[in-house]
C-alpha cells in the first residue's frame, strides 16, 4: 500500500461542529473560540485532523450534552490545563491556564483520587503541545459524560 499524503489535507475539519460540541463545557464564546483554535487551528495538519475525528466520534457517545451533565462531572474535580511558557515567565497557575480544564473524575476508575498514579496520569494528559493537551481535556469531558450516562441507573 503506498503512503499517500492524504494527511497533508484536513479539509474535512469543520470547526463549527467542534465548537457546538464544546459549547456546554465552555459556555463563553470567546473562551471556546480560543480552545477550538488551539485544537483545530494550530500545530501540524495531521494533529488537527486526528483531533477532529476523535472528538466527533466521542461526541456521538455523549450527544446533546447538558449543563447538568457538565456540572456533575465538574463537581467530581477538575484541574487546569496550563499554558506552557518558559518557566521563568510563569504566573500563578490560575491565570496561565486555558479556559478548558481537565476533569479528573473519570480517572478515579483507574487510580484513586489524590494518588501518585492519578497525578502521573494528569501529567501525561497535560503534557505535549497545546493541541494535544486541550484535545485530551476535551476528550476527557466527553468520555466522562458518556461513562456517567452509561452508569446512570
Amino acid at each position: 500500500m503506498s503512503h499517500s499524503r492524504a494527511s497533508s489535507s484536513a479539509a474535512f475539519v469543520d470547526a463549527a461542529r467542534v465548537d457546538a460540541l464544546l459549547a456546554p463545557i465552555v459556555p463563553d464564546t470567546e473562551d471556546r473560540a480560543f480552545v477550538v483554535r488551539c485544537i483545530l487551528g494550530e500545530g501540524p495538519t495531521h494533529h488537527r485532523g486526528a483531533n477532529y475525528v476523535l472528538l466527533m466520534l466521542l461526541g456521538q457517545l455523549a450527544p446533546d450534552l447538558s449543563a447538568a451533565d457538565v456540572d456533575a462531572l465538574r463537581a467530581r474535580g477538575t484541574l487546569p490545563v496550563p499554558i506552557k511558557v518558559p518557566p521563568h515567565l510563569e504566573r500563578p497557575q490560575s491565570l496561565m491556564a486555558y479556559p478548558l480544564g481537565l476533569p479528573t473524575g473519570p480517572l478515579d476508575a483507574l487510580a484513586p483520587a489524590g494518588s501518585q498514579d492519578q497525578a502521573a496520569m494528569v501529567d501525561c494528559l497535560n503534557d505535549g503541545p497545546p493541541q494535544h493537551a486541550l484535545a485530551n481535556a476535551a476528550m476527557m469531558w466527553l468520555i466522562g459524560a458518556a461513562i456517567a450516562r452509561r452508569d446512570k441507573p
Partner: protein, 214 residues
C-alpha cells in the same frame, strides 16, 4: 514648481519608530499640505515614497480626499473582547492613543519595546503615564493567558488576504506563542493595500495569521 527640503527621509526615519510609520507619515503629510498644498504632497510621495511605502500610501490617500486617519476603535475593542491583558506588538501612536482612551482601566496593556528604528522608549512610555508597561521579546510571554490578547498593526490588506505587518510580529508570534494568547488581532491602519513593495514590512496571510483582522 514645489520644492521640498532635502533630508525628509532622514527626518522620517528619526521618528518612524517612536510614532509608528503610519502615525509619523500623517504628521509629515499634514505639515507638507499645510505649508505647500497638495502638489507638495504628491512630490513627497514621489521623493520619499519609494523608501517609505507607508508614507506613499498615506500621501495617496490624502490626495484622494482622506484627510484624517481612520482610528475608530469599535471593531478592535470588539476583537479584544473580554481580554484583560493586551500585549501590543509594534507601535502606531495615533491608533494606540485612541484605543487606550476607550479601553477600561482594568485592561492591562504592555508594549513590546523593539523596533528596527532608533527609539527613545522612555519617552514613548512617558506619554502613557504608567498606563502601558514595557516588555521585550524575551519576556512578553509572561503576559500570556486565557484572557490575554496580542495586538499588532497591519499596513493594508489585499484582496487575496495578503496583509503587510511588521517583521516584529513574526518574531513575536511563533507557533508556540499562537496558542498562548486567546486573540491575535491585527488593526489595519491603511485605507488601501500598499502599491509599492513593503521593504520594511512583511506580507502574511491575514486569514491564517490572525483571529481578528479589523
Amino acid at each position: 514648481m514645489t520644492d521640498l527640503p532635502p533630508g525628509l527621509d532622514q527626518a522620517l526615519s528619526a521618528v518612524a519608530g517612536e510614532l509608528g510609520m503610519a502615525s509619523s507619515s500623517w504628521v509629515f503629510v499634514r505639515a507638507v499640505a499645510r505649508c505647500s498644498g497638495d502638489e507638495a504632497v504628491a512630490k513627497l510621495a514621489e521623493e520619499v515614497g519609494p523608501e517609505f511605502v507607508v508614507l506613499e500610501a498615506i500621501a495617496r490617500a490624502w490626495l484622494a480626499g482622506e484627510h484624517e486617519p481612520k482610528t475608530d476603535t469599535a471593531k478592535v475593542i470588539e476583537a479584544i473582547g473580554k481580554a484583560t491583558r493586551v500585549v501590543v506588538v509594534g507601535l502606531e501612536v495615533a491608533w494606540l492613543d485612541r484605543l487606550l482612551d476607550k479601553l477600561p482601566a482594568s485592561v492591562k496593556i504592555a508594549l513590546v519595546t523593539h523596533s528596527g528604528f532608533p527609539v527613545d522608549w522612555e519617552r514613548v512610555l512617558d506619554n502613557y503615564a504608567g498606563r502601558v508597561e514595557r516588555v521585550d521579546l524575551d519576556t512578553f510571554q509572561h503576559w500570556a493567558g486565557g484572557k490575554s490578547a496580542l495586538l499588532t498593526f497591519a499596513y493594508g490588506r489585499a484582496e487575496d488576504a495578503r496583509a503587510a505587518v511588521l517583521p516584529l510580529w513574526l518574531r513575536a508570534c511563533g507557533a508556540d506563542v499562537r496558542a498562548q494568547f486567546r486573540s491575535l488581532v491585527a488593526w489595519n491602519v491603511l485605507p488601501s493595500p500598499l502599491d509599492l513593495y513593503p521593504r520594511r514590512l512583511v506580507e502574511v496571510d491575514a486569514d491564517e495569521t490572525f483571529t481578528h483582522f479589523v
